[in-house]
Symmetry: D2
Subunit: 100 residues, 4 copies
């Protein structure tokens, strides 16, 4: 199932440039909080790519798998959605705190 990823490829090229920019900020020993802010901005931009990819995936590969009526394939594609959602939700509490 061919996708047009041109927009996301462009986003990643911008992100790549910002990663190099952050390297320079470190080389120039710029203020750490400014660097953390830039990293958080890059994190947000990366998440935009993930969300756009997921949206495209749901409307193509997932639909095809479900229409294929192959229960094994259906189970696989649905469990992957749960997996990436779980990963993005993962707050791993510090050792000291857990809900018994």
């Amino acid at each position: 199932m061919a996708h047009d990823h041109s927009e996301n490829i462009q986003r990643l090229k911008i992100i790549e440039g910002h990663i190099r920019g952050i390297q320079r900020m470190l080389e120039n020993d710029q203020y750490c909080i400014d660097i953390i802010r830039q990293i958080q901005a890059v994190g947000a931009a990366l998440n935009k790519v993930s969300v756009s990819l997921l949206d495209g995936h749901l409307n193509t590969c997932l639909l095809n798998a479900i229409h294929s009526d192959d229960p094994v394939e259906q189970k696989r594609v649905l469990s992957e959605i749960t997996e990436v959602f779980e990963t993005s939700n993962k707050i791993k509490p510090s050792k000291g705190a857990s809900l018994k």
Copy 2:
């Protein structure tokens, strides 16, 4: 589509108890970092409920909507998955940092 939510209802009762526990920690002016740790543990437990609900939803309501062959219904249920994924990914960079 009836779901068996007993496990998640039980999880939420435990979470409710921990929320009251955190209130007591605040009333007793306990150490703030210990309270933040407990809040992060509650956050992780809440996310577990979200992930389990999404997994159930994908394998019931989403499948039914897609098998219904109603394109409007399909679009709606798929866009909701993207929405909750986007919400869980949302890192809103501080005002000072954005990728131009």
Copy 3:
């Protein structure tokens, strides 16, 4: 160092009410995505409490520890800030993906 936690205690009472509300949504088998949205709203409200607690902690206990000139105490309070920041940042990639 006594803090006035009344505002956060009030926030937690509202959160406690919403947790019971989510239990009822589950008991009534309401639409899963609506329940996930509510859980995400509760997660955001919990984070507001964490942020407010951290801000208070920085301006009281942390300052006192640093002014105490006790290097062991300083190291401890600073490492706790890194720990809760790390926990809130923790995105644990799924098994299949890691940066070698």
Copy 4:
């Protein structure tokens, strides 16, 4: 206050390489979920850099600002810690869900 950022610069070079790798995955129209997994792994690696920077910042610039006994400077550096913590915690609930 000079920091030795060599380790983080090296991490960012690895991350930069992975960003190019993700671009190639998109150009080759590889499986979207595999690409999302890689993006999540890059997000985790970026967060490691943020956490390490924060730790260094706390133990240098923050300590200096607090020892400077300049209340304006103290307030500024402490509020920055709260800000980056808040950004990393930011779960922006979807429009439909908010705690009234």
